[in-house]
Symmetry: C2
Subunit: 423 residues, 2 copies
Amino acid sequence: MNIKNEFENEKSNYETYKAKGISLDISRGKPNKSQIDYIASVFKAAENKNDFYVKRIGIDKSDAGNYGLPNGISELRNLFSDILDVPVNNIIIGGNSSLSLMYDLIVINLLFGNPQSRRPWKDEVKIKFLCPCPGYDRHFAMIKNFGFEMIPVPMTPNGPDMDIIEKLVSEDDSIRGIWCVPIYSNPEGYVYSYETVMRLAKMTCSAPDFRIFWDNAYFAHHLDPNRINTIPDILKLCADHGNEDRVYEFASTSKISFPGAGIAVIASSKKNIAQIQDQFKYKTIGNDKMNMWRHSLVFKTKADVYAHMAKLSEFNRPKFKATNDILESELKDYGRYVHFTHPEGGYFLSFNTMKGCAKRTYALCKAAGLIITTVGDTYPNSFDPDDSNIRIAPTYAEMDDLVQAMHLFACCVKLAILEKLNL
Amino acid sequence: MNIKNEFENEKSNYETYKAKGISLDISRGKPNKSQIDYIASVFKAAENKNDFYVKRIGIDKSDAGNYGLPNGISELRNLFSDILDVPVNNIIIGGNSSLSLMYDLIVINLLFGNPQSRRPWKDEVKIKFLCPCPGYDRHFAMIKNFGFEMIPVPMTPNGPDMDIIEKLVSEDDSIRGIWCVPIYSNPEGYVYSYETVMRLAKMTCSAPDFRIFWDNAYFAHHLDPNRINTIPDILKLCADHGNEDRVYEFASTSKISFPGAGIAVIASSKKNIAQIQDQFKYKTIGNDKMNMWRHSLVFKTKADVYAHMAKLSEFNRPKFKATNDILESELKDYGRYVHFTHPEGGYFLSFNTMKGCAKRTYALCKAAGLIITTVGDTYPNSFDPDDSNIRIAPTYAEMDDLVQAMHLFACCVKLAILEKLNL
């Protein structure tokens, strides 16, 4: 292509977009209003059908509207036992946020350590965490706040680079944990392979109290309900290799029922769960059982959850397809400069532009009224050494807006590259 | 009275109770099922009337069913601003548990300190807390878990003994906090006087980062709706005396709406709230806005809350009266040995038996099938030096059961005293 012509061309396109006075935000992984409306209708129907407010007593014989059951109602513990393939006694139903559970678990490790700790993490000279990246900005921000050192580990389509991880954890006993989003990773949408999960489960860690923070956020969030990716059961694999306390597994219904008003879950080994229960008893009399009860009326079985998620995929599938199609077509001549992922589930895709062009792309988008995820935030300390990665969240916008946003985004990507090539 | 005769008499009564095979629990401050049923009917009506699941957008223009608003919805922030007489920006709506907020605040102080701290509390040689007692067992258990030293301070009908408190906090800079339940204290049901609150607000503390944990759990929980106790606004009094960051105030709807499924609130100074917001942003994307929205439909104004609480007082008033009447009549000859409180609100009353008799009373109750709050738990480290205090929670039992329980309890009190006198 003729760079000079192409540059003038895209510059003119960009000015046209800018003149339109666009105001769009594709920065966060939020479901669209139509999806929330649908979920609301499902919950409303279930409440009415089951006389929710009157019949509040389930298999625990405990009133959902009164104190009790610090581990949550058995209906939901059984459900997640089935979904995660973990014994019911190894499951605690939490509040509305799995992120809070992760924060709580780090606090417990800081103040008390875990069953394998020589001392509380707060009393260690240094705590380091492995951070496969690009990754989830909130994971990184949380541990930065606690002063942990973050070690970036490159992601591959099969999960984080296990050669690097095995070497690091075997050599450095200040490495105490790793963040993992094993299925439809944030932001690439990659799915960990069996080999990756197996190697995480059996690797030799120098720190006896090393923990995998297994954020199984998208276990049922497939775009094509007929092509379902699954991940191996890491808790079982760890136990098989004598590392049964290695994993804290987190899940939630945040993108199954209501974002911010769903149900969070933690699953772990018997010993870890006992320690967590022993701490949580000081923290709360129990989590919101009315909301658990409500969820148990909608989701009685694992099959109910997957049928519901097949329905929800209809909201997001067209948006991922439109995003992909626009990027493919708009950037067909830029294949040597850009690369983006084609997730089969989750809420994000990952876009890598030419090195040194991501921040400029962000600025161009912003100046034209389009907010994308802050560039850099997908890396520890908000620093992408290549200034290349951009997270795209196609789900929240209305389709017309998304189409407009992706055309504008592609234009900004091209313009930033052409500016650089033009130098 | 003839102790020998009375002893034989009560022993015979006790055996009669024991033969009945009673199984009752008056240990915890839980509302009765009829009250939860009533509350459920109120919530159901409000959901239906307001088309709850369809209309989810309020004055913030934010969908309650999607992520957003980390401080909570403005409807509830405004409501608690009005109830607690605190500017709306100084209020955060939390999750379902004020106890969790207290735990979170202690964690923040441990890991980071507060704006006046020289260093995080974890790095201090010793952290001491003042514990007015008898007091709330969960307050004491929480800080015992964190390794704090607890200093018991005697309660009076006007609140904790301020002479002792002023002396201690002025002399010992390792004292970093105090637990207060200022209205209808747990377990006595005492109400702090204006003088007590004023002295707490203006006292000179040796530790610059001293904090009052103001657990305003029963602000609207009056037994007689026509005789409403109120407490002075401690946040304002502190600010008036140059100690504006001294207080964390907590409240909840746990015994207004659903215990364990209500809404918790924290109110504090501008500086404290800014620090709390800065931490909470790492912990969660937001608390459950659907539940906030639901509550905002039921409780639109402060007057709504008080009208609702006047209605709820009908459930508990007869139970407190029955408890009082039975104890008065059964123990009329034991006035020199026992003392109990006559609360005008809250969920408990406090019973002091003859020194050295509380544990025996508990054991006698238990052997006859009646569970009362574990004796000692109303004191730090579960140690009541007088072995005298017993907390009674009359609300949860059905009236017939409560009457039976209180007769049995009185019998056990007498028997334990007579055993001792008989020695």
